[in-house]
């Protein structure tokens, strides 16, 4: 389509300091600024709290958290059992608790079962272990297709499943948040927990990727 | 302008112009084709055709039976060739309403092009799930004891409602009756009414 709608990440071309050089703020940037200044003025929000929140979710939590959990589950069978049976407590051992991760479920991939996670109604996602979701996870194409054509979606992500593999799509529309425990790739026997954590990708924990031992660096 | 009306958009306007001139230039479009098509659907067809059929049916029982049972033949009597119309009859027990939830199918040849609201998401989404509420917004309150039949014309048949003859209209001529039958009545979002006669 030649007159396609704006792509989500080039809505405005002044991403970080909109309007800094006298360019007019527009659209949501302008509205958000107006709303923030109003709420601060009315004493309804504390500007320091806003900065703290942003810092937390932009720099402190992210998929590295989930990767550490996965790597431990791969190397410590007792931990893996706890993780599958009582996910929230097992994650609390790492200090990964709180908002949007209060009720966690880990679903395990096996050679014959592949799990993948979506939220068709909004964009629910396990924040404490994966951080905030990527744009594609929140987009209409993923939310609409993951439940009806998971194999097609997986192919676009470069994941080709054998026909005998059962695909389980977890539509997280309630208050449970899902993390996929990916298969540990072959040829990683000698790797330490820390090294393993390095090769676990975000997408493998959503279920739109697999962990590839060969590309492990 | 209501919220259902398309926004005037310079972008769309210039794009349509560009496309028309390109097709003309490539010889893919005859110079008078657009004007002729527009004239046909803007001026030559319209709800007056359906209104004529209904008015005749109201005055002529044999024609009424034919319009309901053999609509293609009944339309041919009026000089209209159209073979996929179904006429559904309102009665004291049943009120009919036509919609196309999937796009905006409409019997062009007997009713002209559909109004904007008929093509808008609000009507298309709600007519099937809450027809009485939609009708009430059009000012037509259908009592609970009267059934509402919604015809979703998503296949190749096209539906037209035959409204009820309003009380006091028995003595009117076919022309007078036809002039009272609105497009809305033929879709089923209105009844036919007679204006209170002055003096």
């Amino acid at each position: 389509m030649s007159h396609d709608h704006d792509h989500h990440h080039d809505h405005d071309h002044d991403p970080d300091h909109p309007g800094e050089h006298g360019a007019p703020l527009s659209g949501p940037a302008l509205r958000v600024k107006a709303l923030e200044s109003l709420l601060v003025e009315k004493g309804l929000v504390d500007p320091v709290a806003l900065d703290q929140l942003i810092d937390r979710y932009e720099t402190k939590v992210g998929p590295r958290n989930g990767a550490r959990v996965v790597a431990r589950a791969w190397t410590d069978p007792a931990f893996k059992r706890r993780l599958l049976d009582d996910t929230s407590s097992a994650m609390a051992e790492f200090g990964y608790t709180g908002r949007q991760g209060e009720n966690m479920v880990v679903v395990e991939n096996t050679p014959t079962i592949h799990n993948m996670v979506v939220c068709t109604l909004c964009s629910c996602y396990p924040w404490p272990v994966l951080g905030l979701p990527p744009v594609w996870y929140k987009s209409a194409p993923y939310r609409s297709r993951a439940v009806i054509d998971p194999r097609g979606v997986l192919r676009e992500f470069g994941v080709e499943l054998r026909d005998d593999v059962e695909v389980r799509v977890w539509d997280s529309t309630a208050e449970l948040r899902y993390l996929v425990l990916p298969l540990r790739p072959a040829g990683t026997q000698g790797m330490s927990e820390e090294q393993l954590a390095e090769i676990v990708t975000r997408d493998s924990m959503i279920g739109t990727g697999v962990v590839n031992g060969l590309s492990a660096r | 302008m209501g919220k259902n009306h398309p926004k005037v958009d310079d972008y769309v306007v210039s794009r349509v112009r560009a496309l028309e001139s390109l097709l003309l230039e490539k010889g893919l479009l005859a110079p008078d084709a657009v004007d002729r098509v527009v004239r046909r659907y803007e001026a030559s067809t319209g709800p007056m055709i359906g209104a004529r059929a209904v008015a005749r049916a109201w005055r002529d029982a044999a024609y009424r039976a034919r319009l309901l049972q053999q609509p293609t033949a009944a339309l041919a009597d009026l000089g209209v060739r159209y073979d996929r119309l179904v006429v559904v009859e309102n009665t004291p027990a049943v009120h009919n309403l036509v919609v196309c939830t999937l796009c905006s199918c409409y019997p062009w040849d007997v009713m002209g092009l559909p109004p904007t609201w008929y093509k808008a998401p609000a009507y298309r989404s709600r007519a099937v799930s809450e027809p009485r509420a939609v009708l009430a917004e059009f000012g037509l309150v259908v009592p609970q004891e009267r059934e509402v039949h919604v015809w979703d014309s998503s296949a190749e048949l096209r539906y037209m409602v035959m409204p009820m003859l309003p009380p006091g209209a028995q003595d009117l001529s076919e022309d007078e009756l036809a002039s009272r039958i609105t497009r809305e009545a033929l879709i089923g979002v209105a009844e036919v009414t007679l204006p209170a006669r002055a003096g």
Binding site: H11, P24, L30, R31, L35, D46, L53, C122 | -
Partner: protein, 110 residues
């Protein structure tokens, strides 16, 4: 409600479009509206289900044509207004004021 947010199984949205090395936020306003939502939620005037329902109130066509944090902005405004914490005309006035400042024109009348 049978809204545009209920996307499961709908056709026509095209392929999923992952972005390599995607940043957490793409624009500064996304950062701000994210934090504003969390901080305002703490006021205790509404719950998470009300927040979700507020986002679903966005007109259906607009919902599909906008991005995630625009839904959050809509929902936040909706709740703030509904709970009487902010008036719609206050928001519009502030928007107009900021727009004038950014364009660098003097305020109306001066």
């Amino acid at each position: 409600m049978n809204g545009a947010h209920d996307l499961g199984g709908m056709h026509g949205f095209g392929p999923v479009d992952p972005e390599p090395d995607e940043p957490v936020f793409h624009h500064d306003w996304e950062r701000r509206v994210f934090a504003l939502n969390l901080a305002s939620g703490f006021l205790g005037q509404w719950n998470i289900d009300m927040s979700r329902y507020a986002r679903e109130q966005m007109p259906a066509a607009e919902y599909l044509a906008t991005t995630y944090y625009e839904h959050w902005l809509f929902g936040l405004e909706h709740l703030l207004v509904k709970k009487g914490l902010v008036k719609p005309e206050e928001i519009e006035a502030r928007v107009a004021e900021l727009r004038r400042q950014r364009v660098g024109r003097p305020a109306a009348g001066s």
